[in-house]
């Protein structure tokens, strides 16, 4: 089902619930991983994802289609995530871990052993040192391959500013990895 049809169904009372199930089915994983990369913990990501979809359900009647459906939901998820990080005062997964050896002892609780090689974990540790919004830009660009144009629509920031954020993030990550 195309987004246009899906939106129409979502905005039609007797079709709304079924269409919403389709919507969640289509976008749940992408939004989950977007959130998860920011908050690290599954339980937090689950809460935020559910809150995101609840907001989508409530606000869909007012969705005007100025942006794409996914862009709109991505923006809601991003805002929910940033709000959560602000509320929890940037509780970070590695805040109590000050070296790589110590970190590797707890990594199995968070990372899939088969999927996480040392350099990926090190990258996550480097990311953890970045300001939230810089990390967000890095995640969207590096992991999700989102264009700056699309990012600008999601965040409401200028393309130049986003590029600068990504550039700074890369420099900091490179320094972190070299210094470690």
């Amino acid at each position: 089902m195309e987004d246009k049809q899906l939106i129409l169904a979502l905005q039609t009372d007797h079709l709304k619930q079924n269409a919403f199930k389709n919507l969640v089915g289509a976008y749940k994983e992408r939004l989950y991983w977007h959130i998860r990369k920011m908050v690290y913990h599954h339980d937090d990501a689950d809460d935020i994802l559910q809150d995101t979809f609840v907001k989508v359900f409530k606000a869909i009647d007012n969705f005007r289609g100025d942006s794409g459906l996914y862009t709109w939901m991505y923006r809601i998820a991003t805002n929910e995530t940033l709000r959560h990080l602000e509320k929890t005062k940037k509780r970070k997964i590695f805040s109590s871990v000050d070296n790589y050896e110590a970190f590797t002892k707890i990594k199995d609780h968070t990372f899939a052993t088969l999927d996480a090689d040392a350099i990926e974990i090190k990258l996550q540790m480097a990311l953890d040192t970045l300001p939230d919004k810089q990390r967000l830009v890095f995640n969207m660009k590096y992991f999700d391959a989102i264009s700056y144009e699309e990012m600008a629509k999601i965040t409401g920031k200028s393309i130049g500013g986003l590029k600068a954020n990504y550039h700074h993030a890369v420099k900091k990550i490179e320094k972190f990895i070299k210094d470690d």
Partner: protein, 150 residues
């Protein structure tokens, strides 16, 4: 790990793990959560004069409007003692309601004129109220720094 500076070609896997079957029943869980939420009812309409935050602002505007009306339409006439006594007995709420009903269509020039006639230093908005409004504004800026309407 891909080159950090050239990452636009494809998505890169992340190393986090997720509980088995987590995604399987997510649709139902979310719908249950939505159904469990109390239904939102239309917000009750609160008359302007009962809104404490707007009370003083409207009161000031109302007073200024009355003064301006006298000044514009009765520049050379004096107000009789009887009229003053009558106006003294009119409550603030009645004035606000009257202004709300009759003078909501002032154009920009009229508003500017009324504003120019107002001596804001004599208004009775307390510093506490100003501080509260300032804090609220700050909060909104923080909250909506990255947020558009949806």
């Amino acid at each position: 790990m891909n080159d950090l500076n050239n990452s636009s070609d494809k998505k890169i896997e992340h190393p986090f793990k997720v509980p088995n079957n987590y995604f399987d029943n997510l649709e139902s869980s979310i719908l249950e959560k939505i159904e469990a939420e109390p239904k939102t009812e239309a917000a009750p309409t609160i008359p302007l004069y009962k809104n404490r935050k707007l009370h003083w602002a409207v009161l000031v505007a109302a007073s200024v409007s009355l003064m301006a009306i006298f000044k514009v339409f009765l520049p050379n006439s004096s107000v009789s003692e009887g009229e003053i006594a009558y106006l003294t007995n009119v409550s603030d709420d009645e004035i606000i309601e009257y202004i709300g009903q009759e003078y909501t269509n002032l154009d920009e020039e009229e508003l500017k004129y009324l504003y120019d006639q107002t001596d804001l230093s004599t208004t009775e908005i307390s510093l506490e109220e100003l501080a509260t409004d300032g804090a609220l504004e700050e909060e909104i800026f923080i909250e909506y720094e990255w947020i558009d309407e949806y």
